[in-house]
């Protein structure tokens, strides 16, 4: 969320010099509740209630003989189905999302580092370049990747020419294409928080580190990288969580054998008659798995700056 905070806090002169956020000044009066009410109400009606509804749906049963018609029940059968039948898709979602997050990190960090420390006056332009591709619909960009990674395209051609890939091989409709798509789509979410984190760092500390450690690499490892951890943490979460639930990349770039949990959920809702409870159960299971992983991850590397 530091990325978005960075986006929001433009303009000089109105900033307090560093330090923690000031304590709220006004007592909770009628104004506070009036201000809160519309927003909170909206979130309750369109977020909390739907989640509750989803939970209820996941426990519903079907009228026997009438697929597509459900009644309220506390039937955990859908969860059983979700967790047993679709294990491969779950695994694939986590694997692809994890791979994409890792790749995104590898690509994003140098970019963020360059923007923060090496760019000087080009910083603004580079920032625009990171955000600008966003303005083309992401569906179009993913389709473009299909074209770039196509059998007749330059990438496959080059790989085959270098004999890295067998002449009968392909990228599209494999997991590699899906991961490539995921990495690309969520790269800015990794770049911006890391950049925000690095930009806030005091360059004098890094200089001091360079003084202490003869090796530039050691300075990076021991000084710069730890300082950027809040940004890395935020970026990883902002990439992994949506990637784990994505289905567009798998749909456009993959095949039947690369389906992720997202694809299953979508088809259970729209293509399979009577699939609502299973789809709902899958959604909740996905959320639970993600939350568990995030919890473990934040515990291990976490900081309070996340919120």
């Amino acid at each position: 969320m530091t990325a978005l905070a960075h986006i929001g806090s433009t303009g000089a002169g109105a900033q307090t010099p560093g330090g923690p956020a000031p304590e709220p000044t006004k007592k909770g009066g009628i104004t506070a509740y009036l201000l809160l009410l519309p927003g909170v109400l909206w979130l309750l009606v369109f977020f909390v209630a739907p989640m509750a509804q989803l939970a209820a749906v996941s426990l519903q049963s079907q009228f026997p003989g009438y697929p597509g018609y459900y009644y309220r029940d506390v039937n955990f059968g859908s969860y059983v189905t979700a967790m047993t039948e679709y294990l491969p898709q779950f695994g694939r979602s986590l694997l692809f999302a994890g791979a994409a997050t890792l790749l995104a990190f590898v690509l994003a960090y140098p970019l963020a580092y360059a923007m923060a420390f090496k760019a000087g006056k080009w910083r603004g332009l580079m920032m625009i370049c990171v955000i600008a591709p966003f303005f083309t619909s992401f569906i179009l960009r993913t389709i473009a990747w299909r074209q770039i990674l196509a059998d007749e395209g330059p990438i496959v051609g080059a790989l085959k020419w270098l004999h890295v890939m067998p002449s009968s091989g392909r990228i599209t409709e494999t997991g590699f294409a899906v991961v490539a798509g995921l990495t690309y789509n969520f790269l800015p979410f990794m770049v911006l928080p890391i950049y925000a984190s690095l930009e806030r760092a005091d360059p004098k500390i890094i200089e001091a580190g360079g003084d202490l450690y003869a090796n530039g690499l050691t300075t990076f490892r021991r000084v710069t990288l730890p300082m950027s951890m809040p940004g890395v943490l935020a970026g990883t979460l902002l990439t992994f969580i949506p990637a784990a639930g994505d289905y567009v990349n798998a749909e456009l770039l993959g095949s039947d054998s690369t389906k992720m949990v997202g694809n299953v959920i979508e088809s259970q809702f729209f293509k399979v008659l009577g699939g609502f409870p299973v789809a709902a159960a899958l959604s909740f299971t996905l959320m639970a798995v993600i939350l568990a992983l995030v919890f473990v991850y934040v515990r291990r590397y976490g900081t309070e700056e996340l919120l």
Partner: protein, 374 residues
Amino acid sequence: MGIFSKSSGAFRDAKGDLILEDVTKSFATFTAVDDLSLTVPRGSFFALLGPSGCGKTTTLRMVAGLEQPTAGRIKIGSTDLTGSRPYERPVNTVFQSYALFPHLTVRDNVAFGPKRRGSADPVGEANKTLELVQLSHLADRKPTQLSGGQQQRVAVARALVNHPEVLLLDEPLGALDLKLRREMQVELKRIQMEVGLTFVHVTHDQEEAMTMADTVAVMNLGRIEQMGAPEVLYDLPRTKFVANFLGQSNMLHGTVAGIDGDFTVIGAGDHKVKVRTSRMAPGEGGEAIFGIRPEKTRVHDEAPSAGSDGASLGPGTLLDVSFTGVATQYLVDVPGVGRWAVYEQNLDLDRISNKPGDQVWISWNPGHAFGVRS
């Protein structure tokens, strides 16, 4: 007590001396201002002097209305301002960080007060005040484009333009470099005398307070230790804190040993010194602290003549000799007393011959001595 209260007009029209009566400000964990009373005569330059955390800024904020006292009253003349909001009071503040509005030009910053007051020609008034602080040529700039010194003058102009009954300055010169600070001290004093407003200046810099103010109040731990004209405070501090905070003092901790005519004798071990009883702070008990300013003392190679009885100390060991151009600073260790400093102006035609390690005596004119309790 809102803007709709009938009395807000009355607040704005308050005129007279600034009076604080038994003002206390307590927070959950500590008391910032403890039963403080003072009167600032209208049109004078008043300095609140003290170390960080002594409560001077809190006091200032209470006068401005940004904090409300836990007990006590704040008045201007006969109008009781206690409980009113800052925008109702004829009081303006120059903040330590200047707090200039970054989204407004310099001119609009200065015109802010007049506009809110509904003045007929806010921009005109702003321009006049900007001339007074010599910033007319920067009136269209934004605060972020100005230097620290220029921003500080805008902050002063912004408060001044409203001709408040009381102008509060919260360590306004703290962020400036030495040369600029000295210039601004003279500037502010000149402006105050020209405009004739009541200035209340909060600072931790004792030189600044003494240079600028007609009256100085030394604060410590929420209380005023001593208040009066700078010369009086310097010449005759009434507490140990004031003696050490305003300038430097050599001290001898001892007990009252007796009276000798107009003088009180204080003894510690083998040493006996005397101070005029009229310059002795009142108090009970035998413990007393003898004090003399370093620049009032002299260093000698031999024990002074018998006439300096009670107005000399020694023998001691010379620890350090520092030449500062105007004067020479000696540091002397007197056994049983401690380390005393001696500042002698370099008036002798001969060059200084004392070296560290020499045995020396210190003497002074007993009329300069003062005595405090703790």
